[in-house]
């Protein structure tokens, strides 16, 4: 039932005002913050890239921490000076700018400023990633490329037995990583679901903590975990498996918990109303709503893990990735060619199977 339809408004007026003022102050703060950032960025990029690199033509311009600080100071001055004009991106973003809704948005001055920032970023990007047509088309480079491509297209089928074995190792490693991550993710997901945990301050604390840990562990790439674990348990499939498992736990927990957050409250309410025990309420009211989506996510995860296992092999996580790494180090391009083919086939087959299965159980 929608309570907002009641006529009486029981919230006292001053409370609403206070909340409103706070929101307004916060919006203005962020608007100014965005403006200062935008202007400082513009100044810094113009200085370091446009002026020093392009106009002065310096190959390695000197860098000191004073430069960003000066840019920040100058940016702040400009931002404050222009904050109330139509050039303020911050006020536009926070919805504080009164503008004529009928005028097309791209004719607003702040959009022009935005465009300038994007163009500056593009130019800076070209310089920083050292994009060079000359290198790309240099004679020696083209000869090297031709050598590699010829070798890759003439794969050495003598090592196919070894390659297949390594590929099987990779698939199993990904499977075990997924399987081991399942129970952890299953349990953690309940603690990371806002709708189940919003009951009391204690559960909300657990929720925030679990979410934080999951976010941190997810933001560290499996590649990095693989390096850590290869020191811990030694180079090989086990290290790769542990890295994949850790990452799978955090990814799956997040997907699972989002699924829990999306379930309909109806069956839960109905089960509670029958006088069922909380465990029964979860088993009958929650589980039937999540089990198929869970299965689908898990199969997808296995698919992702097989792909990642290949990459992880490059840093010593075992399987076909490690094999690829070894042949690449020896510059045996014919063998590398075969491995690339084997990897492509596995990835394609896994992708196809997992999408078919996910479609079937929808």
């Amino acid at each position: 039932m929608d309570m907002s339809t009641t006529n009486e408004n029981t919230t006292p007026d001053f409370l609403q005002d206070k909340g409103l003022t706070f929101k307004k102050v916060r919006a203005n703060f962020w608007a100014l913050f965005i403006d200062v950032f935008m202007w400082s960025y513009t100044i810094l990029v113009s200085w370091k890239i446009i002026y020093e690199k392009i106009i002065l033509g310096l190959r390695f311009p000197e860098f000191s921490w004073n430069q960003p600080l000066i840019a920040l100071g100058a940016g702040a001055v400009v931002a404050i000076a222009l904050h109330m004009t139509k050039l303020s991106i911050g006020r536009a973003c926070m919805g504080l700018m009164k503008r004529d809704e009928n005028k097309p948005i791209f004719r607003e001055p702040f959009m022009a400023f935005g465009l300038v920032i994007i163009i500056l970023t593009f130019i800076a990007g070209l310089f920083l990633s050292q994009v060079s047509i000359r290198e790309f088309l240099s004679a020696s480079g083209l000869i090297g490329a031709k050598r590699i491509f010829t070798a890759l297209f003439n794969p050495n089928f003598n090592i196919i037995a070894d390659a297949t074995f390594a590929a099987v190792e990779t698939i199993y490693m990904a499977f075990i990583a997924t399987a081991f991550s399942l129970p952890f993710a299953f349990i953690l997901a309940f603690f990371a679901a806002r709708n189940l945990m919003s009951g009391s301050p204690l559960t909300m604390t657990i929720y925030s903590l679990v979410r934080f840990v999951l976010n941190v562990s997810r933001s560290i790439e499996p590649l990095v975990w693989a390096i850590i674990f290869s020191v811990w348990v030694g180079i090989g499939p086990f290290a790769g498996m542990l890295a994949l498992m850790l990452h799978s736990v955090s990814s799956l927990s997040k997907l699972y918990s989002e699924q829990i957050e999306n379930i309909s409250e109806g069956p839960i309410e109905a089960m509670t109303a029958t006088g069922a025990h909380p465990v029964q309420v979860i088993w009958y009211g929650v589980v039937p709503q999540i089990v198929l989506p869970y299965l689908s996510y898990t199969i997808y995860r296995w698919d992702i893990n097989v792909r990642m296992a290949t990459v992880i092999g490059l840093v010593g996580g075992g399987g076909i990735g490690t094999m690829l790494m070894q042949y690449q180090g020896l510059a045996k391009w014919n063998e590398v060619g075969l491995l690339v083919i084997v990897i492509a086939v596995i990835v394609w087959v896994m992708d196809y199977l997992s999408s078919q299965i996910r479609e079937a159980i929808k």
Binding site: M1, D2, M3, S4, T5, T6, N7, E8, T10, T11, S264, G266, P267, E269, A270, M271, T272, A273, T274, G275, A276, H277, V279, Q280, W283, Y284, G285, P288, Q289, L292
Partner: protein
């Protein structure tokens, strides 16, 4: 059956949904609660089986104060009160039989219910109720593949599995078409008359109220403003309850 005294409910956001509501429910009656959306009908029903916590006041159920009971006692109280909902609230992707059997969860052990083990007596009873609500042969159909009216009948069968003393119905026909509405109301009437289950039902259509209710109470802005026989709701009362602008819509 129920004795409600000075019931108040204030939601955490400050909405005062129920204001000093006092009324009695006699065993065996078909009590209908009317009022606009947002008048507090659903809140009141959910306070009775404690899906919502009352803020102040007292609720007596069969002479027992249930206002603040917790844990096992609360579950025991709930198990004696059946409930059906506007959106049926069946378990999706599960069969009709499983849904009906879920009405016995309060007396089936936790382990048994997880393994899906129910006693033979309950299984037989479930089949009986499925037949009574006219869904024989649909026991193994997925509940979400049924039509709205059929789903609501599954929900009635599920509630009956609890052997309830009273059945709370939260706008049971609000998402059904007129013909189906009548069929569902007929089943509720049958449950009321033949099984002697007390019914407390939120309804929108006065024509249904006149046809099925034995007594009516009306809520407006969280206050109880009318209590009486369904046929005594005349033009004046109608305007008081629903506002001056309202025009009665009938359903037949």
């Amino acid at each position: 059956m129920f004795k409600v005294e000075n019931l108040n409910k204030v939601y955490p956001n400050g909405t005062h949904a129920l204001k000093d509501v006092t009324f009695d429910v006699q065993a065996g009656e078909f009590l209908v609660v009317i009022g606009l959306s947002g008048s507090g009908k659903s809140t009141m029903l959910r306070c009775l089986n404690r899906l919502h916590e009352p803020t102040t006041g007292r609720i007596l159920f069969e002479g027992e104060d249930v206002t603040h009971v917790k844990g096992k006692t609360l579950r025991n109280v709930r198990s004696r009160i059946g409930m059906i909902f506007q959106h049926f609230n069946l378990i999706p992707r599960r069969t009709v039989l499983t849904n009906v059997l879920s009405g016995t969860l309060a007396r089936t052990g936790v382990i048994n219910s997880i393994l899906g083990i129910y006693n033979e007596e309950d299984k037989k009873k479930a089949m009986d109720y499925i037949r009574i609500v006219g869904l024989e042969g649909k026991e193994n159909v997925r509940a979400d593949n049924l039509s709205g009216g059929q789903q609501q009948r599954v929900a009635i069968a599920r509630a009956l599995m609890q052997n309830p003393k009273v059945l709370l119905c939260d706008e049971p026909v609000a998402s059904l078409d007129p013909a189906t509405s009548h069929s569902v109301m007929q089943y509720l009437k049958k449950v009321n008359e033949e099984l002697g289950v007390t019914i407390i039902c939120n309804l929108h259509f006065l024509s249904l109220v006149r046809q099925y209710a034995s007594r009516v109470i009306a809520l407006k802005g969280g206050k109880l403003i009318y209590e009486g026989k369904p046929l005594d709701i005349d033009e004046n009362w109608f305007k008081t309850i629903y506002g001056e602008e309202a025009v009665e819509v009938t359903i037949d």
